[in-house]
């Protein structure tokens, strides 16, 4: 377990088992599956959720499906069907909780790992796989899905999200959280990204322009091999204070707390209260990507300690203990997840390679005569091989 990053006294409620001296963590469901009614964050806000049995079961299903699809993608990479995969293993609660807190007209700006958020926006999970398979660059219309394309340059999307949020303000779509027109933005990024200039510039911009944006940082403790101590001397949620907006740390392995904190932050943004920072304290159970070997920089005991805080096990324990769901339900969810994984596999394997000439497409909305000329030369060159196998 990471050493204590802060020396401040914790708040009474909702610390959920963190050791003394650790910054307070908003938690509404312990690793053992016990519910906590209310939790107060470091920002002084009190959080709770009021889910029906159906909603608890639905969010469990989301978690299981998201993990299963992610595992399928990892398997596909190992089999050479994807060039690379960035697994979200361990971060399902942070993504499903925050993803389900979004309203349909809110806009999300992911990194390259938010497959769980994508799923919760009711987007076909095959959509990003073109990027990882190498058939495209992860192409979709951000406005159609209210979900930006994956951004690989670390932290760059936080500025895009901030500009988009400024656009919401210019459009006058801020101020009514209840219904209808107000919109908010959520920007996802990791602990490593908080060192990037662009992220800090996004904090500056969003604060001085009071942008309706939630900065959702999944602190999964590592940026490839660099541990969190290499990115910061202070708990990340405290960064917000330096920029003049609220920050809160939530147990990123607790889907209920992640949901509650994100929902409240989005509501505040929609009301015109400006930006906030959520630090979802979680752990990257897998590798940075399938090209990474975490055994080179972390020990098994650390991973095991986080295994005991698994986000899905605690929900299952809760559902079982409260008799909200039984073995039949769990089996049905597993089967559902399995079906979806098989479907994803089939469709990935069926993805066509792009036609070579298409590499010239979509460089400019208005095209370019020189590029058109070059495209013609390429086409003639390709045709000169006609008749020979290639």
């Amino acid at each position: 377990m990471r050493s204590s990053l802060g020396k401040e006294p914790g708040l009474g409620a909702g610390r959920g088992g963190e050791s003394p001296g650790e910054p307070p963590l908003v938690q509404l469901l312990t690793p053992e599956g016990d519910r906590i009614d209310k939790a107060v964050g470091a920002n002084g806000v009190e959080y709770s959720v009021d889910f029906s049995d159906d909603e608890y079961r639905a969010i469990y299903r989301d978690l299981v499906v998201v993990r299963r699809l992610d595992a399928e993608a990892t398997a596909l990479q190992r089999q050479g069907e994807l060039g690379i995969w960035a697994s979200l293993l361990g971060q399902e609660a942070a993504q499903v909780g925050s993803g389900r807190a979004l309203r349909p007209h809110d806009m999300a700006f992911p990194t390259y790992r938010e497959h769980g958020v994508l799923y919760c926006r009711c987007i076909d999970p095959i959509m990003p796989l073109g990027l990882f398979r190498g058939v495209d660059q992860g192409a979709w219309d951000p406005n159609e899905f209210k979900f930006n394309m994956y951004t690989i340059v670390i932290g760059a999307q936080t500025l895009h999200a901030t500009g988009y949020a400024m656009g919401i303000t210019l459009d006058g779509r801020v101020g009514d959280a209840a219904e209808g027109d107000a919109e908010a933005v959520i920007a996802y990024f990791g602990d490593g990204a908080t060192s990037q200039g662009d992220v800090n510039e996004a904090f500056v911009w969003s604060s001085v322009f009071n942008a309706p944006i939630v900065f959702f940082c999944q602190n999964n403790q590592y940026a490839i091999s660099e541990p969190i101590e290499r990115q910061t001397r202070v708990p990340l949620y405290q960064r917000a204070a330096g920029f003049g907006f609220p920050g809160v740390r939530v147990d990123g392995n607790d889907v209920l707390a992640s949901y509650a904190v994100t929902r409240a932050a989005l509501d505040a943004a929609r009301l015109g209260q400006g930006p906030s920072l959520i630090e979802a304290y979680t752990y990257r159970m897998g590798a940075h990507t399938t090209s990474d070997d975490p055994s080179r920089y972390r020990i098994a005991a650390e991973v095991e300690a986080w295994q005991a805080k698994d986000p899905i096990a605690r929900v299952r324990a809760f559902l079982h203990r409260q008799q909200i769901a039984g073995d039949d339900f769990f089996a049905e969810v597993d089967a559902d997840a399995q079906r979806r994984a098989v479907d994803l596999r089939e469709r990935v394997l069926a993805m066509p390679d792009p036609a070579p000439i298409s590499l010239f497409d979509n460089v400019y909305p208005h095209g370019s005569p020189l590029l058109a000329e070059q495209r013609g030369q390429f086409a003639r060159y390709q045709e000169s091989f006609e008749g020979s196998a290639h």
Binding site: D136, Q137, G138, A139, W140, D141, P142, N143, E144, N148, M149, T151, V153, A156, T158, L159, H160, A161, T162, G163, Y164, A165, M166, G167, I168, L170, D171, G197, D198, E201, A202, V204, W205, V208, D361, N362, V363, Y364, P365, H366, S368, P369, L370, L371
Partner: protein, 327 residues
């Protein structure tokens, strides 16, 4: 027809753009209340409000990155980078995002962003205020790059760049901001001379001289001097650096047989090298001499007291023409 400076022509063109489309927003350091350090945006915030002309925090990457987000939201941002040498913090957002998002999205996303950059030297400034970074952008697929050289073109091209759905890096010759010329304010940008077209600034038959931005005036001065000695130089203002419009250049070189390219930017891997390669390939049998380049030297831009030795001037252009004739 009105006589005005390049600065005023840009100001007027920006005003027209703000009037024509309420999605156009201007953003940058000091562009609002101050009207820009060169006064290019003078009076615009007063008339259009601070929702249309936005004073930003001091961070170029933030200016361009938030412009990307505004463009995704449906706005048409016009960013000002205060000086050429300060564009580099924004370079990643420009090259990794602005240039690539249309391609990345397979055409689903358009980023109609204009990034205005005053460029070039000859203003007696300290370091970083006299750069010519156009090659870094022309080399990047997905960006269109233009440079205006006259008040008429400044007025026209800024409007065309803003209405274009391509992302456009718009270079403005800062040493020429106060030089005057005639502007037809009634010109309709939609039907006028195209944005990505080169223009013959002065016809001639003896040699073709290519220039853009601040060097167009230098090339014209050289042509006037050469004419006194009976040599007629054809000066072509390239206007569009990416894509280059070389058809008029080829037509000219096929007649003259000689070509000289002039730019402030350093020689090594500058636009002159690209132009020389293409002109040589297309006009090989028409050339009497290789394509010659008159450029800044391959050093960082020097201190102000020696910048006149660094910058191409009338004499260096004429010298290159002489060398071509001596081949």
């Amino acid at each position: 027809m009105e006589t005005m400076t390049i600065g005023k022509a840009l100001n007027t063109g920006l005003r027209r753009a703000l009037e024509a489309d309420r999605k156009v927003v201007i953003m940058g350091e000091d562009v609002g209340k101050l009207g820009g350090v060169f006064r290019i945006t003078d009076g615009l915030q007063k008339d259009f409000g601070d929702d249309r002309v936005i004073d930003t925090p001091l961070a170029e990457s933030g200016i361009v990155g938030t412009a990307v987000g505004l463009a995704i939201r449906g706005y048409r941002p016009v960013c000002e980078i205060q000086f050429d040498g300060f564009v580099y913090p924004a370079y990643d957002q420009i090259v990794s995002q602005v240039a690539k998002l249309h391609y990345r999205s397979r055409g689903k996303l358009r980023l109609p962003i204009v990034i205005r950059i005053p460029f070039g030297g000859g203003i007696g400034a300290v370091e970083h205020h006299s750069e010519s970074p156009e090659a870094y952008f022309a080399h990047t697929a997905g960006l269109k790059v233009v440079a205006c050289a006259t008040p008429a073109d400044a007025y026209l091209m800024i409007q065309q760049a803003i209405t274009s759905d391509d992302p456009v890096i718009f270079f403005e010759p800062k040493r020429r901001y106060w030089e005057k010329g005639d502007v037809d304010l009634g010109v309709d940008p939609a039907t006028a001379f195209p944005l990505h077209a080169a223009r013959v600034a002065r016809p001639g038959r003896d040699a073709t001289v290519l220039a853009y931005g601040p060097m167009v005036r230098t090339a014209l001065d050289a042509a006037a001097a050469a004419a006194e000695d009976g040599r007629e130089l054809e000066v072509i203002d390239l206007r569009s650096l990416s894509p280059l419009d070389l058809a008029p250049v080829y037509e000219s070189v096929r007649r003259t047989g000689r070509c000289v390219v002039v730019h402030e930017a350093p020689s090594n891997v500058g636009l002159g090298a690209e132009i020389a390669a293409r002109v040589t390939e297309e006009c090989f049998y028409s050339l009497e001499a290789p394509v010659l380049r008159v450029t800044g030297y391959d050093t960082p831009y020097p201190a102000a007291r020696v910048e006149e030795e660094y910058l191409p001037d009338l004499d260096r252009v004429l010298d290159a023409v002489d060398r071509s004739f001596g081949w």
